[in-house]
């Protein structure tokens, strides 16, 4: 297939807000977006060239330079690391004689990392040309290596490489309730729009995406915002490492989700819904489109839903940026721009997609809303705790016998989850992902609920054999990679934290690093522009509070040490001058008490 930028733009009706989707199409043909293509797209869309280039450079799934015909990205979440991903990656790099990120000379292959593929229950995992491969082993890596050597297109790779397993270990309200398509919509119509919102409010449903905002209040604010057009956006970005519960809902309960979006559309008076799906879940695209089509045929989407209102749903695929899970960055991305969080307020409920009133809800929130619409507020109220009604779906991974999806009533203790999942000798649990809360072994009695330990769904378990500082170091790397760079505290702070943690973990740190880690983390928390920066210091601060001895044990000195190897820093100049005299070396690397 040859690339025709103007034909691709035409296919998207010349709509500049579809730029991210347009770039996906270009990537699918050529594997990169070459500078002349950027120019052509800008012209065809009537955008400044710099804006198109900015979008290409922003998203890690896009590239303006050719990458390998086979683009291998190892998932770099801590659970993948614990399952041996670093060794597997090194093995693969060695067998192709490549450096990380480098493209082989013949243009065949490049091997890098990506933040989290949402396959933590079946890692280590990788993406090859944006297709996910779970459960990597040396044997599977060997097979993949031969397929790449043989230049076999990924479409023709053996089927047994790709299947994504579904490990549902505990079902409660959401995962065990079947609904016949249309039931929630019918119930909402019968009740009326305003009463539906009231029912949602009464159920006590709170957002499952992290912030825990009252869903009924959000819908009511959107419904009463001025203007004729409104939008329902489902946040299926699921970028928080260790979270994969939306994956399960999208794979096995898509009807329920679309039902929830349609109910929301009816309730607030929106006629369009958008599902923002993370690019790491390409295997969900076809089934989701098929479900949408089936619902259109059944009259559950389209111009006349149940002869009562118009509502349809469109699928947008993200492009590998964690920050796009933040609702205002997500909206920017939907509008075809770089995913830079907006100033809030105004909030999306009044100025969202295309500056129109918009509801942004997490997948799990909308699924729960569909059930409330059908069965009433009491259905959710009956379980959970006073301030957290209903259930929470947890994605359990790490050192447990049975990783997978566990749905519990809110209020479940961390220990209960550990027991059910078969965890032994637990040293720590990271609840809610890197941006969440790190719990030590003395806190396992604590409860998953907005009143105590809130969680967006991740539940990563570390047993006594794990180096908790290496865990935290992985998280700091994650934030440094995902910071969008818009504001200085986060852009600079995340990178400084990652560098300092690396020094501490590698045993070259000094007490100054530990002090500065706390300082930088607090500064990010206090001054960052969006939730990514304000939470990026959490793992460091939690670890400093709960695992302080692990830090102190690692320090090479209580004095301030150089942050780099002084003698090694002279090596290139030694080489260029062919010098090896005493003055060409640093003999004293550590002491600052040098006398003249």
């Amino acid at each position: 297939m040859t690339l025709d930028p103007s034909a691709i733009v035409a296919r998207h009706h010349g709509d500049a807000s579809r730029l991210v989707q347009i770039l996906h199409d270009v990537m699918a043909v050529e594997g990169h977006v070459a500078p002349p293509v950027i120019t052509a797209l800008a012209r065809a869309l009537g955008l400044p060239r710099g804006q198109v280039e900015g979008v290409v450079e922003f998203y890690s799934f896009f590239s303006s330079e050719p990458r390998g015909r086979f683009r291998v990205l190892f998932s770099d979440n801590i659970t993948d690391e614990m399952a041996g991903s670093h060794e597997l990656r090194k093995h693969m790099l060695d067998s192709f004689r490549l450096q990380p990120g480098e493209v082989s000379r013949d243009g065949l292959v490049s091997i890098g990392t990506t933040s989290c593929t949402g396959l933590c229950d079946q890692g280590p995992a990788m993406l090859v040309n944006d297709r996910a491969i779970p459960r990597l082993t040396p044997a599977r890596i060997g097979a993949i290596t031969s397929l790449i050597r043989g230049d076999v297109p990924v479409d023709r790779w053996p089927d047994n490489l790709f299947p994504i397993a579904s490990h549902v270990e505990r079902r409660d309200l959401l995962l065990s309730t079947e609904l016949s398509p249309g039931a929630a919509i019918d119930a909402a119509i019968a009740r009326g729009a305003a009463a539906t919102i009231e029912e949602i409010t009464r159920s006590g449903l709170r957002g499952r995406g992290g912030a825990g905002f009252s869903t009924g209040t959000k819908w009511a604010a959107c419904a009463s915002a001025p203007g004729p057009e409104r939008y329902i956006v489902c946040n299926a970005d699921e970028g928080e490492p260790g979270t994969f519960k939306d994956r399960e809902l999208l794979a096995a309960h898509a009807d329920l989700l679309f039902e929830g979006m349609t109910v929301a559309g009816f309730a607030v008076g929106a006629s369009k819904g958008i599902l923002y799906l993370r690019a790491e879940y390409p295997f969900l695209v076809e089934p989701l489109l098929a479900t949408l089509e089936a619902r259109r045929r059944a009259g559950l989407l389209g111009e006349r839903v149940r002869d009562a209102f118009a509502f349809d749903i469109e699928l947008h695929v993200g492009a590998g940026a964690y920050v796009c899970g933040e609702e205002s960055a997500l909206i920017e991305s939907l509008e075809g721009k770089r995913g830079i969080p907006r100033n809030r307020p105004p909030y999306p409920v009044t100025h969202g997609y295309l500056q129109k009133p918009t509801v942004v809800n997490n997948v799990e929130t909308l699924v729960a809303a569909a059930l409330v619409a059908t069965h009433g507020a009491g259905f959710l109220r009956a379980v959970g705790t006073p301030k957290s009604s209903g259930t929470k779906i947890l994605s359990v991974s790490g050192d447990v016998a049975r990783p997978g999806i566990y749905e519990y009533p809110f209020g479940v203790s961390v220990q209960q989850v550990l027991d059910d999942a078969g965890a032994v000798d637990t040293q720590a649990v990271q609840v809610g992902g890197p941006s969440g809360m790190l719990l030590s072994a003395s806190e396992l009695h604590r409860r998953i609920a907005f009143e105590d330990v809130p969680s967006a769904g991740a539940f990563m378990v570390f047993d006594g054999s794990r180096d908790m500082l290496a865990v935290v170091e992985n998280f700091t790397r994650f934030f440094a990679h995902e910071s969008c760079g818009f504001c200085t505290p986060c852009r600079v702070g995340t990178t400084l934290s990652a560098q300092m943690m690396k020094r501490v973990v590698s045993g070259t740190g000094s007490r100054r690093d530990v002090k500065d880690l706390a300082k930088v983390s607090n500064l990010m928390r206090a001054t960052s522009h969006c939730g990514l920066g304000t939470t990026a210091g959490n793992p460091v601060l939690d670890a400093l509070a709960k695992f302080r001895p692990s830090f102190d044990k690692r320090l090479r000195s209580l004095e301030v040490l150089p942050t780099f190897d002084l003698d090694e820093a002279l090596a290139p100049a030694r080489e260029a001058t062919a010098r090896d005299d005493e003055g060409a070396h640093f003999t004293n690397q550590t002491s600052q008490a040098e006398k003249p």
Partner: protein, 186 residues
């Protein structure tokens, strides 16, 4: 300050140096103009470009402009750290590497080769290799990458007023505070 207080109070001993800097920060220090006179009542200079004392003795305060671009810079910095109770990074170069750090994305070997061997107009060139010469570091570093720095005085250069305010605060035993007009302007 009343005359008798001045007499009992020992003068602060101050050393200054320019590492990988442009002397702009030192010029800014001199820009405090006529306030130099009362300042010299309060301090006495140790090693400094202004005194030509080569090595730093025990001091209360060290002011350093410029970052670290070569081995000698590192030795000088450590000498200052060993002798100064309070060490201040003065100016953008000392704090961030500044302009000299623009070379950080270049390979220092290639720099040396281009400048001394292959560059335009170079004939019979060779890369200087006398042991007397300090070798350049792979990259330019800020001071705090190598030693503990007690205060950072930002600006390129910090204004004379900022330097004055900073020094007088410190001499009077206050924590230096640079407010509006001295480090932020909006």
């Amino acid at each position: 300050m009343s005359p008798d207080v001045k007499e009992v109070k020992k003068k602060l001993r101050v050393a200054t140096t320019s590492l990988a800097g442009c002397f702009g920060c030192h010029m800014s220090l001199l820009d405090i103009d006529e306030r130099l006179v009362p300042l010299l009542d309060l301090i006495e200079l140790d090693s400094s470009p202004l005194t030509d004392i080569k090595h730093c003795g025990p001091c209360d305060l060290g002011l350093i402009e410029g970052g670290l671009c070569n081995a000698e810079n590192v030795h000088k910095l450590r000498e200052f750290r060993a002798h100064c109770k309070i060490l201040v990074a003065v100016g953008a170069c000392a704090i961030n590497g500044g302009l000299p750090a623009q070379r950080n994305h270049l390979d220092i070997r290639e720099c040396l080769q281009t400048v001394y061997l292959t560059g335009l107009g170079v004939e019979r060139g060779f890369i200087p290799n006398d042991p007397e010469l300090p070798l350049p570091l792979k990259q330019v570093h800020p001071l705090h990458d190598v030693v503990k720095i007690d205060y950072f005085l930002p600006g390129c250069p910090p204004s004379a007023d900022a330097i004055w305010q900073f020094l007088t605060d410190l001499i009077a035993g206050r924590t230096p505070k640079l407010g509006h007009g001295l480090i932020h302007y909006d």
